[in-house]
Symmetry: C2
């Protein structure tokens, strides 16, 4: 079933205790589509500037990622981010952010993409998320991400967006800030009162929590020994999650759990390398092998 992602496409420079990667592919829509394309075809919608390197376009070659929604805007420059992770690498410190084309008008969803059934609205201004949503004719499941900036500066807009989507993906800090609840189960329930049917709260190395109506699902992170660069882990998680749902055309509770597990293992590849290095080594068989390992690591009598 058709899967569409809208989000950022950027040029990243990332420093971690394991090294530095300068001017490499990044952005939520890139990580998402790479991850989801392991499971199902993806339609990508986003905007870059005319400085966007051809070599970055070629990273999509050979993957079922439809770039008909990738706009190259004349006279604009591509989004750039420079971040650093230290210590336990749980949070990035942004050293520099050049919004560039992301500070202009948003992308347009091409007519051929408007019938998309599964949709992920990666983090951007919640009003833009709603604009994008309004361009779709018959979405079956829309899931959005957000960030602290919008919780703090555009809360009313964000609440309108949350009331219009089926699911939301947040990290623990965002869930606490949005709801004022310290306990994450309470925070999850409070998010559902804003409208979505389900919320996934990501806890980084501590795994994730799915609150789906009255149902709870808790899953540890995939036990990875080598974390080289956490950038893109959340969007890769979302890609594996939405990719599995779209591939199976299911949105029931058991499907959400299965999809969270796929998101978890997909993200584990991402963090093992800088930029797309780790995720590029993942294959459908590799995802299933890690899933089986995760099952073995979580099974008890």
């Amino acid at each position: 079933m058709s899967l569409l992602v809208t989000g950022s496409i950027g040029i990243d420079t990332v420093e971690t205790p394991h090294g530095r990667a300068a001017d490499v592919p990044g952005g939520s829509a890139v990580y998402f589509s790479f991850a989801a394309s392991l499971l199902t075809p993806v339609r990508l919608v986003g905007v870059v500037g005319e400085d966007f390197p051809d070599s970055f376009r070629r990273v999509f070659d050979g993957r079922p990622i439809d770039l008909a929604g990738l706009e190259t805007r004349r006279g604009s420059r591509t989004f750039r981010w420079h971040g650093r992770y230290e210590g336990d690498m749980n949070a990035a410190q942004s050293l520099r952010t050049d919004l560039n084309v992301l500070g202009e008008r948003g992308p347009t969803i091409p007519p051929a993409f408007r019938d998309s059934r599964y949709v992920f609205l990666a983090n951007t201004h919640p009003a833009l998320q709603r604009d994008l949503l309004a361009q779709l004719t018959s979405p079956k499941l829309v899931v959005c991400d957000t960030m602290n900036l919008w919780i703090e500066t555009a809360l009313d807009e964000l609440k309108q967006t949350l009331a219009a989507v089926g699911g939301v993906v947040l990290n623990d800090g965002e869930a606490r800030l949005l709801t004022g609840c310290n306990n994450l189960i309470d925070a999850g329930r409070a998010v559902l009162e804003l409208g979505p049917r389900f919320v996934i709260i990501k806890k980084g190395e501590h795994g994730s929590l799915l609150v789906d109506g009255p149902d709870l699902f808790v899953l540890p992170a995939y036990p990875t020994r080598e974390v080289r660069d956490p950038t893109g882990a959340g969007d890769s998680f979302a890609g594996g999650f939405m990719g599995w749902l779209a591939a199976h055309d299911r949105t029931d509770g058991a499907a959400l759990r299965s999809a969270v597990a796929r998101g978890t293992v997909t993200a584990s590849f991402t963090i093992e390398g800088f930029s797309l290095e780790g995720l590029a080594t993942a294959t459908p068989a590799g995802v299933e092998a890690r899933l089986e390992h995760l099952r073995r690591c979580t099974r008890f009598e």
Copy 2:
């Protein structure tokens, strides 16, 4: 199969965002034995002063906890601790610690207890842990706890103790301090190089990790909405863990996993009340019901 615990018995004053409990029962051996007694009889070994209240002795009434190893030392005073939890309550701030009788010579294991097969050496000086171990004639599984203080001030002694036990229970901070590894799987493997067959690394609200030779087991915490007082959670976990192993007389890998799950749900009762309030409400049926809930919350296809 016989289960013995050696550890502290104290008088606690605890402050959390949910209230304050003054001069209430506390101590590792108390939480451990309460927890384990839900699953199997327990032999308790510890020392109190002559100020130890009769009412505190009566909290053990009606539970299969043998107090033949509870020494009341003339002229000595009972261990007292005053702590406070703030914010996310992940770590206690010790406002005052009066070691009192715990600063004197250790307890003696009564002859009738020396044939104990399952043994938990709760946190104390590692040299004392080895003295206690030497009093046992035929232990099948000995598990110990420790703390940052001994890692920092008695590392050689601690290494000798770790080389003499079958398992060790640590929290994440202790595991990192002991091994210098930030990644907890690496830390677990490094602990095993010191001697034990297995290590359990407790991550508080994020659950626990069992490293058992080459085998890994990761389990989230029981999804509790009300955390009133985390004091004793770790010792209650150990009590549920060792209690299940002793009750089934099993130490194989699958048994360790089952026991970790029982420890997890047992600890969930402890943190719902101050002192022993929460744990006192737990029953074997209640533990099994939460275990089934934990299974439902962690299951995926």
